[in-house]
């Protein structure tokens, strides 16, 4: 087996709206069959980046290839092979589920369309809603329809923009199982999300904040790169405690996790020195392995400072 084929390979991709640089010189490489998680706060440029990949926006600077075709000049060659699922439901609400799929299938020229649509409806368990107007579906079923529509033509690259926002956990699980099944057949997927459990299901992750790419790698790599030491605190009066801890040297961030407070810092010694005076009844302090979530909160704060 040769070196993995890059499906997305872009350098210095930049997009400017007015006087605002939304994406700043982004480099990214995604290999074939990878599920690539794309994270970052709202308005950080994730959607803009995806739109540049599929030809919906013209980059102001930078270059690269998508599926081996130039993103600036060979859009027409790229489009037939990508499946783009927009953040907002973008199928026809006044068409039925089946009519929407037929339309998309005809646009892409899917061979033996009737059977393909029937199979797709079967696979995604959409049978019950086949003849219902898309506009009358609930959020989870709309999302299922959208995923069906963007996979109907067997694309080689899926660009999924917050596909599971506002969807219940069961539907989210089904959705990810579906994506993993597709990836196993060689389909590459670039997925944006805000959910940590979803980030953990990606092969590789990138974190973008305010146009800058802050981190890129596997979940383990990201956690290792962050070099954070984290303590979990439990006990009474955590809110005021959190406010006080934030001010102390060595404490980079304090975040509430359920009934716990997670206190993290890059400078382990300074952190422990600051926390020492508080380590007494009724509070309990526990050193815990840093999770992705702490890493991302940390990255977000860095992004804001930058």
């Amino acid at each position: 087996m040769n070196a993995p084929q890059p499906v997305i390979d872009v350098r210095g991709l930049t997009k400017i709206f007015g006087d605002k640089t939304v994406v700043k010189g982004l480099d990214m490489r995604v290999n074939q069959g990878e599920i690539f998680g794309f994270l970052g706060p709202n308005g950080s440029g994730k959607t803009t980046f995806i739109r540049m990949l599929c030809g919906l926006l013209k980059p102001d600077a930078g270059s690269g290839t998508c599926l081996g075709f130039d993103i600036a000049s060979q859009n027409d060659r790229i489009k037939p092979h990508i499946g783009y699922m927009t953040q907002r439901f973008s199928h026809y609400e006044d068409l039925t589920v089946r009519e929407n799929l037929l339309f998309i299938g005809r646009i892409y020229g899917v061979p033996d369309l009737d059977r393909a649509v029937a199979a797709c409806i079967e696979r995604m368990s959409l049978g019950r809603y086949e003849h219902q107007l898309a506009g009358s579906l609930s959020g989870g079923w709309k999302q299922r329809l959208a995923l069906s529509a963007c996979t109907l033509h067997s694309p080689r690259l899926l660009l999924l923009d917050e596909p599971t926002a506002g969807v219940d956990p069961g539907a989210r699980r089904d959705f990810w199982d579906e994506v993993h099944k597709l990836a196993a057949t060689g389909v590459t997927a670039l997925i944006t999300t805000h959910y940590m459990d979803e980030a953990e299901r990606c092969h590789r992750l990138a974190y973008i904040a305010y146009g800058d790419l802050l981190a890129d790698g596997t979940a383990e790599e990201l956690i290792a790169q962050a070099q954070l030491l984290t303590y979990a605190v439990s006990g009474p009066g955590l809110s005021p405690l959190g406010e006080r801890l934030k001010e102390l040297p060595g404490v980079d961030q304090v975040a509430v996790f359920g009934t716990n407070l997670h206190v993290s810092g890059r400078d382990g010694e300074a952190l422990e020195r600051s926390l020492a005076p508080f380590m007494a009844e009724p509070l309990t302090f526990r050193r815990i392995p840093t999770t992705l979530e702490e890493v991302f909160i940390n990255l977000m704060q860095q992004g804001r400072k930058a």
């Binding site: 990508i82 973008s90 006044d94």
Partner: protein, 380 residues
Amino acid sequence: MNASGVFSWRRFKAVVAKEFVQMRRDRLTFAMLVVMPLMQLVLFGYAINSDPRHLPTAVLSADNSIFSRSVTAAMRNSEYFDILRVVTTRAEAEDLLRTGTAQFVLTIPEDFGTKILRGEKPVLLLEADATDPSATSNAVGAFKEAVRRALDRDLAGAFGNLASSDMAVDLRIHAEYNPEAITQYNIVPGLMGTILTLTLVMITALAITRETERGTMENLLSTPVSPLEVMIGKILPYILVGYIQMTLIMLATRFLFNVPMHGSLVLIYSLSVLFIAANLTIGVTFSTLARNQLQALQMSIFFFMPSMLLTGFMFPFRGMPAWAQVVGSILPLTHYLRLVRGILLKGDGLEQSLTHVWPMALIWLAAVVLGTIFFRRTLD
């Protein structure tokens, strides 16, 4: 699977099929498209068709013969004219006309009666405030008839030797403020083009902006579909709607307004496709420029105004200043009005109609080109 290409028949058919389903689902809009032309036609048609009578008339008379008395009596009897007052100076008469107090001023010259008896054909002048020509045209027609009859009767009785097939007087009618009088037959066929312009430009102007507004454009743009396929695919179903509207209007024109139809219906139906397509394409072009449906709607109304005013529908084309004629001639309605009036009223055939057809074809082509250029392939 053929990936690229400006136009693919398969994708085009997909867009058309989708549009038909959407059109069928949108019952309210479809009903509006059918009901609106009829309503407009009835409202416009009857308002214009009204045959106003008892129009205020001033008489500037310098004669007091039996003839001048019988002319004014005949006018009154026609019911079109109410003799408001008799004035003695020209200035007074002009003032009444200008202020609109009088719709007509009849000027009877000095020695009117004597001149008739001498066979000198005195001039009888009727000045009309033809600001609204449809308000005066019937009265003007009635005037001629009333004067002729009155004088014939008088002459036949007392002065039989003077009665002849010729008019005993020289009737002159000045339609002030509007040199060309439009008859109502002119207007009802014209309404067809006007109504088609309003509804068809609007319906497609909304079509693409609706996709943008509902977010479906983002999805459409990420597929291999081309601008031309989307544009023409959206236009085709509405050509059918245009024909349904046309048929309704034609039926109403014939049976509600009894407008005579001299020319060939086949000709009018087959040539109308250009006009319908041109309007639909202009609508699509607007929708590629507008950011939302409200803007699209405003643009269609912006287009509708000159179409009403500068095409010869409301005001005679030749009466407009040169610049307005230039603007008018790039509007498809100008040419369609001539086409429809030519075929319906004059019985024009294909040969005479072609002069009005090629400008419409040109406008359509220009709209297709502009629409394709302006169609946003990206979300930039």
